[in-house]
């Protein structure tokens, strides 16, 4: 069920250049199960910015009634969010969207998780749930530069983990797709979240696996009413059939929508 909850800030810390990890607690955690969904955050009581900010859920902790989001401080909205201190409240609407289906990977199979930059966070909860189910997880995380790298050790604790940087200052120089193409193990499922060019490259890769991609788009309401975040479907790229990124997605199977 979608609820509007005033969550309490448990902690907030900067974990890489411009990257913040915010832990929140509230009854909304009872509604959170599937990885890859998002929350819609009102960052101010004022009118600037007007709209909520959609941010993916990076980790769910049912026992402590807490969840984690990781975001890049970039514009006015995320700057205001970065100012929130422990004990303050944050207006959260959610959980929203269709996330990653853990059911797509069977016990004993191999899932490869491919994340780029601020697309990495939702893959962490997915990795936890896949490992808990008995799926082998390989993570490939791509960043711009060493200063932008985060959560490598968290992913590494769940399985084989590769890091790439575009400028070669950390891990392997290059793109996540370089690693993905060179894997010895044949993945059964590929789950990915990151910048659109990366998702396109993975879709073009024609891997012999089920591929799921999490898309990003500017949103209005986040619940499917405003039609701000629609995209065309792959089989009708110029027609009037459509999917809404906020409610049909953000996770789609490769080939479902035109990216």
């Amino acid at each position: 069920m979608i609820i509007n909850d005033q969550c309490t800030v448990v902690s907030q810390q900067q974990i890489a250049e411009s990257i913040f990890e915010l832990v929140l607690s509230g009854k909304i955690v009872e509604e959170m199960n599937e990885p890859g969904r998002f929350v819609h955050i009102k960052v101010t009581e004022g009118l600037d910015p007007m709209l909520r900010r959609p941010i993916s859920i990076a980790a769910i902790n049912k026992r402590s009634n807490e969840f984690t989001i990781i975001y890049r401080k970039q514009g006015r909205g995320t700057s205001l969010l970065a100012n929130k201190k422990s004990g303050e409240t944050v207006d959260i609407l959610g959980p929203l969207g269709n996330g990653f289906s853990v059911a797509e990977a069977n016990i004993g199979e191999t899932a490869v998780l491919v994340g780029g930059g601020i697309g990495v966070p939702p893959l962490y909860e997915l990795a936890k749930q896949l490992v808990a189910k008995g799926v082998k997880v390989i993570s490939i995380l791509g960043f711009q530069s060493q200063s932008a790298v985060f959560y490598e050790e968290k992913f590494a604790s769940l399985g084989e983990t590769y890091v790439t940087t575009v400028d070669g200052t950390y891990g392997k120089k290059g793109f996540v797709t370089d690693i993905l193409g060179g894997l010895v193990v044949q993945p059964d499922v590929i789950y990915s979240c990151g910048p659109t060019p990366m998702l396109k490259a993975i879709e073009k890769g024609q891997y012999a696996a089920k591929v799921f991609l999490s898309l990003e788009e500017r949103m209005g309401c986040g619940i499917g009413a405003c039609f701000a975040c629609v995209c065309h479907t792959k089989d009708d790229p110029t027609g009037h059939t459509y999917k809404k990124v906020c409610t049909d997605g953000p996770v789609f199977e490769a080939g479902e929508v035109a990216i």
Binding site: M1, P49, L51, E217, R218, I223, A225, A228, T247
Partner: protein, 313 residues
Amino acid sequence: MSRLNIELPGLSLKNPVMPASGCFGFGKEYSQLYDLNVLGAIMIKATTPEPRFGNPTPRVAETPGGMLNAIGLQNPGLEKVVSEELPWLEQYEVPIIANVAGSTEEDYVRVAEVISKAPNVHALELNISCPNVKTGGIAFGTDPEMAKNLTKKVKAVSEVPVYVKLSPNVSNIVSIAKAVEDGGADGLTMINTLLGMRLDLQTGKPILANRTGGLSGPVVKPVALRMIYEVSQQVHIPIIGMGGIQSAEDVIEFFYAGASAVAVGTQNFIDPFVCPTIIDELPQLLTQLGYQHISECTGRSWKQHEQFAYHRA
């Protein structure tokens, strides 16, 4: 005794608060969040004869106190709205106001003729003010003669009262309002969005793929109030007011300007529970302000004080 019920042409409203067209889809999304029966009415998303995909993305941009949208009248088309969306809404005891859009006179007439026959459609909202489509739309809303003729043609085929949605993107809104009143309009809804734009600091290009879009939100409220104030003194048909409403206080202000009911738009995106919250808060606010019934507030900004005396006795 209800203090909020309002009688308007075609509409027996249990309260004067309804979601505005384009901000509520066809109700399904919000029905997961609260019982739609609490609403005074629902203004459904604009319907055109054929399905429309709308504009490319990005379709929204922000500005302090407001947002710009250029959705482009995306909708599943008349046939699907009549066969699927409206029947689904029949489970609610809420009058539907169907927003009618198109590119040509024939488009409007066709949609109006068919959609006005749906049992739960109690009124039409003639959308001659959408700023985000290339043909039709706003063209009909900026020329008094065109607006009047279109109103006449739609009135001739509609089985329910017709409200005309006015554009604020005109130099003289009173002349358009009078023209559509002459054309037989049963009421007015105002205002649609104000045409605006935002530019990207890095690229220098417009943020919206459509380049320009409709500005809405609290930032347009003073414009809406001024226009309702001017128009309500010059026409004899009721006005459903809209433009940046966020609270029960805003609702009363729109009534003071001359509205007889209100619609809430953009705020549904920020607080999806805003309509039921406002409906809950209105009676207490009326008590605080000393009114028995919300209808006493209509036009208070310009009506002579004596006209109110009998209400207060």
